[in-house]
Symmetry: C2
Subunit: 149 residues, 2 copies
DNA sequence: CGTATCTTGACACCGGTTCTCATCCTAGCC
DNA sequence: GGCTAGGATGAGAACCGGTGTCAAGATACG
């Protein structure tokens, strides 16, 4: 099977840390790549039709977070959702549905991002805070929940 | 003891829901009012010198979240930190230090907030998402960590 | 003062996450 | 190809934050 750009990047990153890109890890990366937003361990277990046991999923998620390949996202219900880091998937933000909990990735225009960047500098300057990144999340009700509720 | 503005607001809200403003609940609100950012159940247990048992703290946090007095904030380590809702403490955002984990409240100018609001509408419109609120968090290194490290 | 109801406190329970360890697999070498 | 060392896996136990249960205590109202 053709290996995607993202998978190649992941592979390089793993190699440089002397961590093997095994079947289970590959499946996880592919599942994350195909999803529209952050996934929990349980989600992924389902996505992969239980081909990878929970313990391995958790271990892989932890390993890849440590290597900066994945980013944990703490949300409702106390469970952690992971997604591919920005250097793999691109910078984006989230729409979080209060009703169903779904997190949807959104991409803003370059213009909008530049506005946000200037807000960041304005906000951090006076506090002497060195900004490294930002997250902008909008919560509300998604279209499908609004329609059915 | 003089009851603060915020406590009076909380009391009114509780009364209208026919929930009593008891000693334990009062202590919790005071502890939250005195803290600089969101606190976890464990934090509060310590803040109050274990005067209120964990089960009561959890129950109170849940009750007050349901009533919109407190807002849960899911963060690192999987535990939930609570803070007084915006209508009590004012709308604000967070600077999160990667190094020491401190969360600092920041307030943006009215002008900046209006810019953010327009970004929100632009971002949600095409997805049919009904926005109810937003959170804008900047992560990086705080002044004291940058100075000492 | 009495009673109905709300609240509390102690503890059992639950579910997500982490730890452990024996077994399996991969990479490198002969 | 077969061998070996060390990383990776899988099953289940352990752990821990958080929730539910229920008898005992506090509160409002008459």
């Amino acid at each position: 099977m053709a290996t995607s750009q993202i998978e190649q990047q992941v592979m390089l990153r793993l190699n440089s840390a002397e961590v093997r890109y095994t079947k289970g890890r590959r499946l996880l990366v592919q599942a994350l790549q195909q999803s529209d937003g952050p996934r929990s361990a349980r989600d992924l277990h389902g996505d992969l039709e239980e081909a990878v046991p929970m313990s391995s999923i958790y271990r892989t998620l932890t390993t890849m977070s440590d290597l900066g390949i994945l980013v944990p996202h703490h949300g409702r219900g106390g469970n952690i959702r992971y997604e591919l880091a920005e250097w793999l998937m691109g910078h984006h933000h989230h729409l979080i549905c209060r009703s169903c909990g779904t997190i949807d990735d959104i991409e803003l225009t370059e213009h909008t991002e530049s506005i946000i960047d200037s807000l960041v500098s304005a906000a951090t300057e006076e506090k002497g805070f060195t900004a490294a990144g930002h997250s902008f999340e909008i919560d509300g009700v998604c279209a499908s929940c609004a329609g059915s509720g």
